[in-house]
């Protein structure tokens, strides 16, 4: 019989990429020493380009110096995956969870992240599906609606998924998104035939799809202040 599994969820609003990275580092350490339960961050970023561990910066099509003029930042990270863009109106989930506790490997974890986004899309009549072999992510036909880039360290996850609600898709023109040429990027706004509710509603639905997909039995809502003020069991 499976025991009850709790997840703590924090809706963070718009968070600078570096701040979110530093927060994740603290949460990973706290989760590793079991000071906190599985935790999920729901947020958006200001315009930000990020690269993964393989540092595939040949997929950035403009000089790095131009990014500042566009109001965007660039970060090199330790996550898997290629280059991508994050920005306003793109829903991001960063799960900091212990895969060992639930016996999941990287492949199954990523599949469940894909299913989370596929389910959300289906709520709006959008038929999304996982990528073909080697093209992790969520697609509507040939158009990419959701991206994944994850880091797993001592069985604890960080980074996560990004689902396009209605971001400015022009930002994607300056990169070869995820290193895949000749494929478009799309959004829920573009693909759905119905009117969309507010982003807060959709972000909560995304959280709900995640919680269901990963089998949590209860959610504790944590506010941003208690996370950022070191109230994560971390002694200073």
């Amino acid at each position: 019989m499976k025991s009850a599994r709790i997840i703590e969820v924090c809706r963070m609003g718009v968070v600078n990429y570096m701040d979110a990275l530093k927060l994740q580092e603290r949460l990973i350490a706290a989760r590793k020493s079991s000071k906190i339960p599985d935790t999920l961050l729901s947020l958006q970023h200001p315009p930000t380009y990020t690269l993964g561990k393989r540092r595939t910066d040949h997929n950035l099509l403009v000089p790095e110096s131009d990014l500042g003029k566009m109001g965007a930042e660039l970060y090199y990270t330790q996550r898997g995956g290629d280059i991508t863009f994050h920005g306003p109106h793109q829903a991001i989930l960063y799960p900091i969870i212990s895969l060992r506790d639930i016996g999941l490997g990287a492949r199954k974890y990523v599949e469940k992240l894909e299913l989370t986004m596929i389910e959300l899309a289906s709520l709006y009549g959008v038929r999304a599906c996982p990528g073909k072999s080697g093209e992790t992510g969520v697609w509507v036909g040939d158009r990419k609606i959701g991206a994944i880039g994850v880091r797993i360290s001592n069985g604890i996850t960080s980074h996560g998924l990004a689902f396009n609600l209605n971001p400015d898709l022009n930002y994607f023109k300056h990169i070869v998104p995820c290193g895949i040429e000749d494929k478009e990027v799309t959004s829920l706004k573009r693909e759905a035939d119905m009117e969309l509710p507010t982003e807060e509603v959709i972000e909560d639905q995304l959280i709900s799809c995640f919680v269901t997909q990963f089998g949590y039995s209860s959610i504790t809502w944590k506010d941003k202040k208690s996370l950022l003020c070191g109230d994560d069991g971390d002694t200073r």
Binding site: R54, G80, G103, L104, G105, R107, V110, V150
Partner: protein, 155 residues
Amino acid sequence: MAARMLWASRAAGYLRISVPHRGFATVLKDLKYCDSHEWAKVEGSSATVGITDHAQDHLGDVVYVELPEVGASVTQGEGFGAVESVKATSDINSPVSGKVVEVNEELSNSPGLINSSPYEQGWIIKVDISDAGQLNNLMDADKYSKFCEEEDAKH
């Protein structure tokens, strides 16, 4: 061809643990294992290290391997490199402590060797062991097989 005959001749040294979609994952009897799914083949004061068949199966197709430098120190239970698969980077932890004396450069060109040959051509580093006593912390094949089955039963 020779490698395949060597493989076949070792068939008696395998255990099989059940993996739902594949049927089994291979565990070799003469290796030592840790709970983060790496193996160590100890020969005298050296060990060859890699990740297990169970691990590569759960990772998916490996597309990139981050190797340490020759001469780097490794510590039992701590990360020394990483692999990338399905847009996830996963740390690799060392089952032994010591100094890296060789890394498998082949993995830079053919990271998929980790999937196709996790115990042979997919070896990752060779280490001069600094603390042989720590080997007692590792699992033998039977214990590791049970560990994998328990872990897989969690979901």
